[in-house]
Amino acid sequence: MDIFQNEMIKGLTQMAHYFAEFEIRPVAPIHDREETVPWELMAKAQFQGISQTRMLDEAVARRGKEARESDPSKPKIAAQLQVAAAEELAWGCAGCSLALVGSSLAASPVASLGSVEQQDLFLKLMDGLDANGRVKTAAMALSEPGTGSDISGLSTTARKEGDSWVINGSKQWITNGQTATVYVVWAQTDAALGRSGVRGFLVERGTPGLVPGKKEHKIGIRASETAAVHFEECRVHNDMLLGAARPSTGGLGDTKKMLDSTRPAVGAGAVGIARAAYEYTLEFAQREMLRGRKLVDHQHIAFALAEMAMEIEASRLLIHKAAWLSDNKIENVLNASIGKAHAANSATSVTRRCLEILGDAATEPGNLVEKCYRDAKIYDIFEGTGQIQRRIIAKHLFGVNAV
């Protein structure tokens, strides 16, 4: 594994950490308290090369460069770079980090399924600033009120009318759902086809019938906008159907593959949260005295912190293994699920344990560990709940689909 020696990874980690410490950390409590999107931070990030659409940028950059890409002497570390950066940014603030990279959820299917024209259109739409002078964002609209874990039951439909598709339905828990410039919406095109009838469409903001819905008030990751999106007789041209040129598409399977591919980076975010809470608590324990000794000199505190370090290190290694497999074109679905589920568990338990050590200091407004505790929980829910990860793991390891 390259992660601990590779100079590029080390360099990127340092850069991301610097950004997290000096740009994200100072504003994070404000966006958490006020539930606001960190637009200024996003502009700074974009200026510093933290792209909203990295996967798509790379896909575009790769066009016609396949020969160079296959050069065996060049290390393949894209996924490892991604998880290293994701951990650092989430260390700064999980909500802000999701605001910074949330658009990549929508860019990812465009990168893998979109035609050259669709990819160019997507990047063109994302270029520059929106009508409010803000960084543009994109939204991947998959989940629905009735379909959380079970994405096979999508009820949003797209019906063909001439050279258009007409989309109807409601989407829920959509990152950037209220303010996105461009949406990738998943809809059932032919109920008779079941899962393979599900297809993705590019929908530009302002398209009649696209109605951004209510913003959710969440327990954590508050700097990341989550909202409903409604489609009411929303008509898009046939050109907006992703993967239309392919003779056969994976339908819903495509979205599942995308979730598989983003899982290591999501897990890395959970590691970042756990590490932030752990480091804060360690510093507290090294500073505060209890009965004449530093907290950290008490065995039950020292062991608790050691336990946390074990959990964090284990999660990080599992996630980097999944990323390394991905970089080396080895199937990583099992390892991605193991890594994500482990990291989500660790983040929940580490942040909770930190709260106990801090005591009433953690109930102060704006306390970092209390925020980490709230932020961490979503990692066991989104991008496949802990239960879904265990289903995937069980299926891969011993072939059962237990209910």
Partner: protein, 350 residues
């Protein structure tokens, strides 16, 4: 140990169950959002005797004879079930009233404690306060980052078991530096940051056993509310799991979620039994009791796990404030640290 409720206990349990269900529950979401308990609710609580029942008759309260900690635990189960923040506010001042009633004097304070507006908050010196005794009084220096219930109260009682600074110190909140410290936990409970800059305190007692006993009483009440809140979380989750269909069946039929619910239910029943036993121990002897700290520790763990698991069962809906479990997950954290961090408790025991 008696497991049957007496007639009085059953009546109290039923009265507060109804109060929690009809009066408090419908108001909890707004109270959390606005960080405020409606005055009418506080008045209704007072009408039910929530403050006066621990104040002796001579000082204008209802207490004659022995106070029943079992009854208090039973009502705590309902108050915590409705809203942990409201529970904290409604249960303020009881331990101080019982202590002042015992030591005599302090009738001016006791008269306040019989009312909702005059009540007291009890905090614990975790070793970071500077306390300079001076005869019957003391100067106190330091701060408390977030004292729940302070915005509604007139008095601050500081329990200190630190070597050289043992005592129960009583301070008028009017003499303290105060600023709002409403954060994410128990938002409706009127938390304030309290600054003490050499503030003068009256010393109520220096008897460490009596102070420990006072903290024990508070811990059992806290543990009861923790169990009530945990029960609420799992009830919500169970009802949701019965309705929510994924993969063509109610998610509550998946064994993993069934197990998650069952594990929590077992813990809740065990916690409730421990709370009632600890309360019975308080009723049966006068000094410190062994089960109070155990009850707080166990029940704080139960609520933390139940609330987090309830959010997990709700999935994405659990993470947003339209559903009640999000609030319970935020509220779960204070139970463990209400009387000092767990570390502090462990070292003290050692």
């Amino acid at each position: 140990m008696q497991f049957e409720f007496t007639q009085d206990e059953a009546l109290i349990a039923e009265t507060f169950r109804r109060f929690a269900d009809r009066n408090l529950r419908p108001a909890t979401a707004d109270a959390d959002r606005e960080a405020k308990i409606p005055a009418a609710l506080l008045a209704q609580g007072a009408e039910l005797g929530l403050y006066a029942d621990a104040v002796p008759e001579r000082a204008g309260g209802y207490l004659e004879g022995a106070y029943s900690h079992r009854s208090r635990a039973l009502r705590g189960l309902s108050l915590g079930w409705a809203c942990p923040a409201m529970g904290e506010v409604f249960e303020r001042g009881v331990e101080l009233a019982l202590l002042l009633g015992e030591v005599g004097g302090f009738d001016d304070v006791l008269a306040d404690l019989a009312t909702s507006e005059g009540s007291a908050v009890l905090v614990r010196n975790d070793g970071r306060l500077g306390i300079l005794p001076d005869g019957d009084s003391a100067m106190v220096l330091g701060f408390f980052p977030a004292v729940f219930g302070a915005a509604f109260s007139k008095w601050l009682a500081i329990a200190s078991l630190e070597p050289g600074a043992e005592g129960l110190y009583l301070i008028s909140l009017a003499d303290c530096g105060r600023s709002s410290a409403v954060a994410e936990t128990w938002r409706a409970a009127g938390a304030e940051r309290i600054e003490l800059g050499g503030t003068k305190a009256r010393i109520v007692t220096r008897d460490t056993d009596r102070i420990t006993r006072m903290l024990d009483e508070a811990k059992v009440s806290l543990a009861a509310r923790a169990i009530g809140a945990a029960r609420a979380a799992i009830e919500f989750a169970e009802a949701y799991a019965a309705d929510r269909v994924q993969f063509n069946q109610p998610i509550g039929q998946f064994e993993s979620l069934r197990e998650l619910i069952d594990t929590n239910r077992v813990s809740i029943e065990a916690g409730e039994a421990l709370v009632l036993r600890a309360a019975a121990e308080l009723d049966s002897k006068s000094g410190p009791v062994t089960l109070a700290s155990m009850a707080q520790r166990f029940c704080a763990d139960v609520i933390r796990k139940s609330a987090v698991d309830a959010v997990q069962i709700y999935g994405g809906y659990g993470y947003v404030n339209e559903y009640p479990v999000e609030k319970l997950m935020r509220d779960a954290t204070a139970f463990a640290v209400r009387f000092g961090s767990e570390s502090f408790e462990r070292v003290r025991r050692g």
